[in-house]
Amino acid sequence: MNLRPDPTFHASPKLAMEAPIENYAFTVMLSPDGSQSDGIAVIDLKPGSDTYGQIVHQVIVPNKGDEFHHFGWNACSSSLSPMSGHAFLERRYLIVPGIRSSRIYVIDVKDPLKAHIHKTIEPEELFKKTGYSRPHTIHCGPEGIYVSCLGGGGADGTDGPPGIFIMDCETFEIIGQYEMDRGKQDKHYDFWWNLPQDYMVSSEWGLPPQFENGIVPEDLLSNKYGHSIHFWDLRARKNIQTMDFGENYQMALEIRPAHDPTKSYGFCGVVVDTTNLQGAIFTWWRGDDGVWQSKKTITIDPRPEDPANLPPLLQGFGAVPPLVTDIDLSLDDKYLYVACWGLGEMHQYDVSDPMNPVLAGKVELGGIAKGENHPNGKPFAYGPQMVEISRDGKRVYWTNSLYSTWDDQFYPDDEGGQMVMADVGENGGLTLNKDFYIDFPAGLRSHQIRLEGGDCSTDSFCYPSV
């Protein structure tokens, strides 16, 4: 407990952008077949450092088969609202769930070079206290730490609906289920919110049997993955509106609300439109009548390709789908980054007008039947995937693995984990940085990135940028 608020807590997104830049990144390392232990790589980002852009420390966990995926902080800028009552928490712990094992590690990164496991929550405890499994997205909010889970109870996670549970932000004890009225919500993936406006939005991937052993083509073609997002009264813990994008919009994943709490809109990325293989971004917003609305504001076309060059899964289509698997919004709500994991492209859209996004920059790297090399001449396995933006919006980092079993289906010949960085131009535009290229230790792949002091997909702000 501090005597002053943590210096990495910022009242508004604007103040966070003006704060000192990141010194370290924390990136997930996962063993796709469970033959090694997973871990967190600590990467030096201090400008001018001799070890800049290198892994300077690793926290390797004692178990195998956890499959690390997403993770997050124990505390963020949301602590600066008197209503949270937690102004003196430290941003010190990373909550790292194993999406396959349902085990949760709390890692102390106060000294990044000596980061270590602080606490481990065994899967049985999670099952017993919440009825959920396969923990995923982490956000720190009013009642503590919120964690979305992709599975319900039972061995295959289909016994009961998945949902969010709350964890104490000081003791890391699991408190219990969040939902009081989940309405139509029966699948889960991501969630985020606007704290002063008291709403939350959650999304849907699919149930564990639909992803754990790989994508199920029959389920995809019969539109059985998630295609709705849910709007919640955050503090009443009640689903107030379920919005169905249409059943062809398969896998509504990342939810990115505008960071400025005065705004009542945000974005959601859809992996694939099964009618035409397009990737899509929907803008959602609250109408004057209080009813939530949405509109498809970005579409990305598939690329025709000789079936001989395609993995078996895609040969019947004769095309490479973009596969929009991650999106991220800069803190000034200006640029939306869209990872097209199938095409091998990272797009940058100017979303100053959220209803009319304009493509402002693009980088090609990796990709199905393309395998574009990095400008330094080295290979980039798979395609651009988990993306994280520096607080000041000038650097964009990303890694390459989507999910172990899915990597193997879409890129059967690829292997490896890489993290790269692109510089953002003064007036938009995106250029890969030739000197930033991290090759992860053999046998390990990489997924989500967190930046020391917060980044563009962690902090929730309670005061507007003025």
Binding site: R4, H10, P142, G144, T262
Partner: protein, 223 residues
């Protein structure tokens, strides 16, 4: 008599001081007034928010003081009541020292319901209790001065005093918090919001112990 006047002045000073002390503490809500004005892009939202916070705080104060004003009717037990109140306030302080956790239910209040939040926050932190020994001190001196009036009239006096104490305290709280909110909103900017925040949890709990101790001491010594 002169002693009494000095004591009464000191006690009213304590009512005002405790108000200022509650007011400058961001945890009691002034940042919410800044936030309200910024969210609505209208500085007029600030007095409204401060008003709601003040209303909640006032209700929490009066909610604690009124039961004591009824008890003071039992003139013969005055000393015992004051000692009991002192013990209660000390106990709250000790409890807050031992249990440093923030009550979770506060996080479930809708962010627009500032009066409710302010009421609950004041209750949960024993803000009203901090006033009790001071209030009982004022009542005791008043009773001494007026002699043993009819119980009915004494009670009316005490109830009036409870309202005045709660009002004066809330007013000084609102002035202190409002002043900081205005300065941050119009001049200093949000950057100073986190700089004004000090962890007063321990100081707060110790203040309760101190005020409770003072209440017991003055009960024993007569004032």
């Amino acid at each position: 008599m002169i002693d009494d006047i000095t004591s009464v002045t000191a006690l009213w000073g304590a009512v005002i001081f405790s108000g200022l002390y509650h007011g400058i503490n961001p945890g009691m809500g002034w940042p919410l007034a800044v936030s309200a004005a910024l969210m609505e892009r209208n500085h007029k939202a600030m007095p409204k928010a401060l008003g709601m916070l003040a209303l909640g705080h006032f209700l929490a104060m009066i909610g604690i003081l009124l039961p004591f004003s009824m008890m003071v009717m039992l003139v013969d037990l005055e000393k015992e009541i004051r000692i009991g109140a002192g013990i209660l306030v000390i106990a709250m302080g000790v409890y807050l020292l031992i249990n440093r956790r923030h009550p979770k239910f506060l996080a479930r209040v809708h962010p627009a319901r500032l009066a409710l939040w302010s009421f609950l926050a004041a209750m949960a932190h024993g803000a009203g209790l901090m006033l009790v020994p001071i209030y009982l001190g004022i009542c005791a001196i008043a009773a001494d001065d007026t002699g043993h009036l009819a119980a009915q009239s004494l009670m009316t006096d005490n109830i009036t005093t409870a309202f005045v104490v709660a009002a004066v305290h809330t007013m000084s709280m609102t002035l202190a918090g409002g002043l900081i909110a205005v300065v941050i909103y119009f001049w200093l900017g949000l950057k100073f919001l986190s700089r004004t925040w000090f962890n007063l949890d321990v100081v707060w709990a110790l203040s309760l112990v101190l005020v409770g101790g003072f209440g017991m001491f003055s009960a024993f010594t007569g004032h």
